[in-house]
């Protein structure tokens, strides 16, 4: 279970997020929405350890991970994708996913220099796990391609497969539908809810496509100018006057 307690983060004088709290249990899909610059990605960066919170704490399964190194937070069980796709150039699709398995792979530098039985066994185990996750997102047939040659939608899916290979307890998806066409968005929606049921982790989802967020989230948090302005079920959020104000602006004064 992930618990974010009263987290704040400033950059110089800019208060990127203030006093944000949320909890996510196994099987939850939590949507995070808000206008551009509301601090959604900053929140993800604080949870995944790219930034350290100025105030507040991030707790995963009872363990305080607020001040841990980024790679340790991943190993504790926070997987993520990026808003602007960040795949590894110079590696194939399968190798990209393997990179997420490699920190868990158990062989030493001696095995790295020679084809020892332990190395071969671990590489085989890793390849099977990674091929499984590629299969899950439906990308196994592209495993020997270079990611930069793939269409945008597949690159997004590859990022998800790579994040899954970290075997996360909480998966952070940062605008997974950005730049996708309507068919791809539908496929993605179906994939996210299927993953949540089958693998049973918590998913935090930043997304601008409201039909996607409203459709699959169990709970939604709304941020505006770094402050939480509302939380609740999709139905409650749709009705919330503060949310409408943040998205559509103040209602015109009555004439």
């Amino acid at each position: 279970m992930l618990e974010v307690r009263n987290v704040s983060k400033s950059f110089g004088g800019v208060k990127a997020i203030q006093d944000v709290s949320l909890t996510a249990k196994k099987g939850d899909i939590i949507g995070i929405i808000g206008p551009n610059g509301a601090g959604k990605t900053t929140l993800f960066n604080v949870i995944s350890g790219i930034y350290t919170a100025d105030k507040g704490s991030v707790i995963l399964d009872g363990k305080d991970i607020t001040k841990m190194e980024q790679y340790m937070i991943t190993r504790e069980g926070i997987g993520r994708t990026f808003q602007n796709i960040r795949l590894f150039r110079g590696l194939t699709v399968l190798e990209n996913v393997m990179c997420a398995f490699d920190p868990l792979s158990r062989y030493s530098i001696i095995d790295g220099l020679l084809p020892t039985p332990r190395r071969l066994a671990e590489e085989k185990r890793g390849r099977e796990i990674c091929e499984h996750y590629l299969e899950v997102v439906g990308m196994l047939k592209y495993k020997n391609e270079r990611p930069e040659n793939l269409p945008y939608g597949l690159q997004r899916k590859l990022e998800i497969a790579r994040a899954l290979t970290c075997q996360p307890k909480v998966l952070l998806l940062d605008e997974p539908a950005a730049g996708l066409n309507p068919t791809e968005v539908m496929e993605l929606t179906e994939l996210i809810s299927r993953l949540c049921e089958e693998i049973g982790f918590a998913i935090l989802l930043i997304e601008h496509r409201l039909e996607l967020v409203m459709g699959i989230s169990h709970k939604i948090h709304v941020l505006n100018f770094g402050k939480p302005i509302a939380e609740g079920t999709p139905e409650e959020i749709k009705e919330n006057p503060d949310v409408i104000k943040a998205y559509l602006g103040e209602e015109e004064a009555k004439c």
């Binding site: 790679y71 150039r89 110079g90 920190p103």
Partner: protein, 289 residues
């Protein structure tokens, strides 16, 4: 004949050093302008142990490599956390400091006059076997989890960390492998020329290696080796036109950087499997046409 054997041995020693640079620059994307200093440490420590302390060659070589790795670890500690461009600066400073140190400690190292009287132990077969062993080990490394993590860290450090990769540690591993390989090349060098002086281990040597890797193909081990063989052997063969060879060398590098920035080989690795695939691919094209 002796002349060609000598060129060949020097080329092979360069190849050994460049396999290290390939791990550092090609795989991990770190530019070191002080790598030749580790060659100097390898050369001086092993030479000193054999000449002044009567230690057998093999043991001296091992001690020299171990000492280089320890020094490399100390230099690496603050360096691997830095951004790439700063790494070049730190290693440049370190490299020049080592050269200055060798020049100043005249009573021990002979200073600028050099350190001579090292027995001639390195032969062509020894250099050849060493080069092959280094190439094989590095090619295994490239395809291991270490190689993948190095490439991931080079490509996108932030994403690599987000995948659970301990980036400073993987950079340190790559750096120390490069240091070990380079200092071993230094050992072979000292016991081939029988004489070393600080002048040959300056930043120009380090820069030359980086150029060789880029010339052949920064993402290809076989490309880097090919680049080294051409760029080491060429100036020797062109010795009759000694006045113009650096000009020729410069033109060659400029042409490559301008017209094929990924180097001669790009990402292509020369191997039996790839060659066969290429040949059969060509055949298919032909039968399709």
């Amino acid at each position: 004949m002796q002349f060609y054997i000598s060129i060949l041995t020097f080329t092979l020693i360069s190849v050994i050093a460049v396999t290290g640079i390939y791990v550092l620059t090609g795989l991990t994307g770190m530019f070191s302008l002080g790598q030749a200093a580790f060659m100097a440490i390898g050369a001086y420590v092993s030479g000193f142990l054999v000449v002044k302390a009567g230690v057998p060659f093999v043991l001296a070589a091992i001690i020299a490599v171990v000492i280089s790795v320890i020094v490399g670890y100390i230099v690496g500690l603050p360096t691997v956390r830095l951004r790439r461009d700063y790494i070049s600066l730190v290693t440049l400073g370190f490299g020049e400091a080592i050269t200055a140190l060798l020049n100043q400690t005249q009573s021990i190292t002979g200073g600028a006059l050099g350190f001579s009287g090292i027995p001639k132990i390195t032969t062509l077969p020894l250099a050849l076997i060493s080069a092959i062993v280094c190439i094989v080990l590095v090619s295994y490394l490239k395809n291991s989890k270490y190689g993948r993590q190095c490439i991931a860290a080079r490509s996108d450090e932030l994403a690599a960390k987000a995948m659970g990769i301990n980036v400073p540690r993987i950079k340190m591993t790559a750096f120390l492998i490069a240091v070990a390989v380079t200092s071993y090349a230094g050992v072979l060098y000292a016991f081939f020329t029988t004489y070393v002086d600080p002048g040959i281990f300056g930043w120009k040597k380090s820069a030359e290696w980086v150029i060789m890797v880029f010339f052949g193909g920064v993402s290809s081990l076989t490309g880097s080796i090919f680049g080294t063989i051409i760029l080491t052997a060429l100036p020797e063969v062109l010795r009759f036109a000694a006045d113009y060879r650096t000009v020729f060398y410069a033109v060659l590098v400029l042409l490559i950087i301008n017209f094929k920035p990924t180097g001669l080989f790009g990402e292509y690795e020369l191997s039996v499997g790839n060659l066969l695939r290429r040949l059969s691919g060509k055949k298919e094209e032909r039968s399709n046409a």
